[in-house]
């Protein structure tokens, strides 16, 4: 397994939407390298013919009747919004300027 570099940590931070400082990048690179080195031993079983388990229960879709039920009001749902306008969540610009 390859070691994890500072550049790779910067890439991961971008993917994970974390605006890390230079100091953090340095610090986390060393720590993540240690952790990944320690957990890489799971790969010992990579070639074994074992089915993967993603969940302790055999999951099936749970359906319910399509009926209107009591739910949060718009006011309740918006009560914790950082910003709101016209009964909607107000967010920073998502697409580029027209």
């Amino acid at each position: 397994m390859p070691g994890i570099t500072r550049e790779e940590v910067a890439h991961l931070a971008r993917l994970a939407r974390l605006e890390l400082t230079d100091e953090e990048l340095e610090h986390f690179a060393g720590q993540l390298d240690d952790i990944i080195g320690a957990v890489a031993r799971v790969a010992d079983v990579a070639a074994e013919d074992v089915p993967p388990t993603s969940h302790p229960l055999p999951l099936t879709n749970v359906m319910r009747a399509d009926r209107v039920r009591p739910s949060l009001t718009a006011e309740q749902a918006l009560a914790a919004a950082p910003a709101q306008e016209q009964q909607r969540f107000k967010v920073p610009q998502i697409l580029g300027e027209e």
Binding site: R17, I36, D44, V45, S54, V62, P92, I94
Partner: protein
């Protein structure tokens, strides 16, 4: 300290029911205790004085009106700050949710309220339940009531510390890799991780959804069982909630016995990292079980050696996905929104400011494990290990009724010792993690003090899925035998605060 705070939940409920004490007096006694000691312990992030007294008043009114009360009505409880509480702050130990007032109650919260249990407040925890010491809380650490310079375990250190310092007779925790059991072990209290799906996760802030499980914390096995019965059971709001009868845990706790029971001891649960005094107390517990009529069977579960590694790939992977919802758009913190920045930039700045170091580490670790090129080697292999761990348990439970082990390899370590050494911290969960991977049930209860440091040692009992009643049957027998030997509950040996 009011005598009321020394009583068990079962005793308190009986007194409230027969009218010898009111629920309001009971709540007030615990609020006074919080005022007296929590500045030192820091078990609570938020104390809901008015809410608690109002809930207590309602119980007293129902009793006065001749209504039949539930078995824990009027008993105060400390709720881990990971469960939503309508109109009461819920932070998950994180700055990203500072000041958030949830618009709804978690199913666990709702069931507690319906049972007349009085919620005193919300307890401290490692941020998003990631940690084994409560030092990862954004709001400062919690002290272990046995020695305030040491950790109370984690992530549910606040819940466990509130019990051990008599601030509450009952508490709720969540256990993803040991966050109920390890704090119970290091504080001399009782904690149970129910079978996965046994307690609803609705309104429980998600960390690793295939592992997370809420459960009861208490000072006695019977109290834990009474609380277990209140919070467990099918919930249509959680699609992973098991639709089956709750195991008869209270009956089991009232009829503790191990005669004729086959008890497994797993060879892999000892070794270099284990403190001598922990192993000594564990070995005594095995002898105690033998003396009570249990048959001891030595077992090997070879894949447990890889369980910790698999956990630290699976849990971070699920966390990196779950925590993506904290995007600064609908609730929680938002920083850097000055009109010039894009939504994506605001998200990145907010997450940077709102998450602490351990949460960032795990999000990046999960992002790495799930990224193309590494997915098969890491996440894929970890899922195979998970299958092997479940098979080891299955084979073991073909030979024995329960398995016992030390809950954690060492007693409470000093605050600060492992906080920037993630691998050392992760080892605290060595014996608890296999249970979460397989989804079965387990309990930790006190089995003495380690001779070298005088700190509590926990005995872990593991049962198959949906056989949680076995934990209580064995736990009650062990508890009774130890108390007969010691002459008192172990917490009486803790120093006064």
């Amino acid at each position: 300290m009011s005598e009321l705070t020394r009583l068990t939940a079962a005793e308190l409920a009986a007194r409230v029911a027969d009218g010898s004490v009111s629920a309001v007096e009971t709540a007030q006694a615990h609020l006074d205790r919080i005022d007296a000691v929590d500045e030192k312990v820091h078990a609570f992030l938020h104390v809901d004085r008015e809410g608690a007294l109002a809930q207590a008043r309602a119980v007293d009114e129902r009793r006065a009106a001749g209504e039949k009360l539930g078995p824990l009505a009027g008993v105060p409880l400390a709720l881990k700050d990971i469960f939503t509480t309508e109109g009461v702050p819920t932070t998950v130990g994180s700055k990203i949710l500072e000041g958030w007032l949830p618009p709804y109650d978690a199913t666990v919260t709702r069931r507690l309220k319906d049972a007349g249990i009085v919620i005193l407040g919300k307890t401290n925890m490692d941020e998003f339940a990631m940690g084994s010491s409560t030092e990862n809380s954004a709001y400062g650490p919690t002290g272990n009531p046995w020695d305030l310079t040491r950790i109370p375990g984690g992530s549910g250190g606040g819940s466990a510390a509130s019990l051990a310092s008599y601030q509450a007779p009952l508490a709720i925790g969540t256990d993803t890799g040991g966050s109920i059991r390890q704090p119970a072990a290091v504080t001399g209290t009782v904690g149970v991780k129910p079978t996965y799906g046994g307690v609803s996760r609705y309104g429980m802030v998600a960390f690793s959804s295939s592992l997370d499980q809420g459960g009861p914390c208490a000072r006695t096995v019977l109290d834990a069982a009474l609380l277990h019965e209140v919070i467990a059971g099918h919930d249509p709001l959680d699609s992973t909630s098991v639709d089956a009868p709750v195991p008869a845990v209270v009956e089991a706790a009232r009829s503790g016995s191990v005669a004729g029971l086959r008890v497994g001891v797993v060879r892999e649960f000892r070794g270099d990292g284990f403190q001598a005094g922990v192993l000594q107390r564990f070995d005594e517990s095995v002898e105690l079980l033998r003396g009570l009529g249990a048959e001891i069977v030595e077992l090997s579960c070879p894949s447990f050696d890889k369980a910790l590694a698999a956990y630290y790939l699976i849990a971070p992977s699920e966390c990196s996905s779950n925590l993506a919802r904290f995007d600064a758009m609908r609730y929680g913190l938002r920083v850097g929104d000055d009109g010039s920045r894009s939504a994506e930039e605001v998200t990145s700045l907010t997450r940077q400011a709102g998450f602490g170091p351990e949460v960032k580490r795990r999000i990046m670790l999960g992002t790495y494990a799930l990224s193309s090129g590494y997915y098969d080697a890491y996440y894929g292999s970890a899922q195979k290990v998970r299958t092997l761990v479940a098979r080891d348990f299955e084979a073991a439970f073909g030979q024995v009724d329960v398995i016992v082990s030390p809950t954690t390899p060492t007693t409470a370590f000093p605050i600060g010792e492992r906080v920037d050494d993630p691998m050392a911290m992760y080892l605290a969960d060595l014996c608890t993690i296999p249970v979460n991977l397989a989804g079965n049930s387990a309990m930790s209860l006190p089995c003495g003090l380690a001779p070298e440091d005088g700190l509590p040692v926990g005995l872990q009992i593991i049962a198959p899925a949906m056989a949680d009643d076995r934990l209580y049957r064995v736990g009650a027998a062990v508890e009774a035998a130890y108390q007969a030997r010691w002459g008192h509950p172990i917490l009486e040996e803790a120093p006064a605060l």
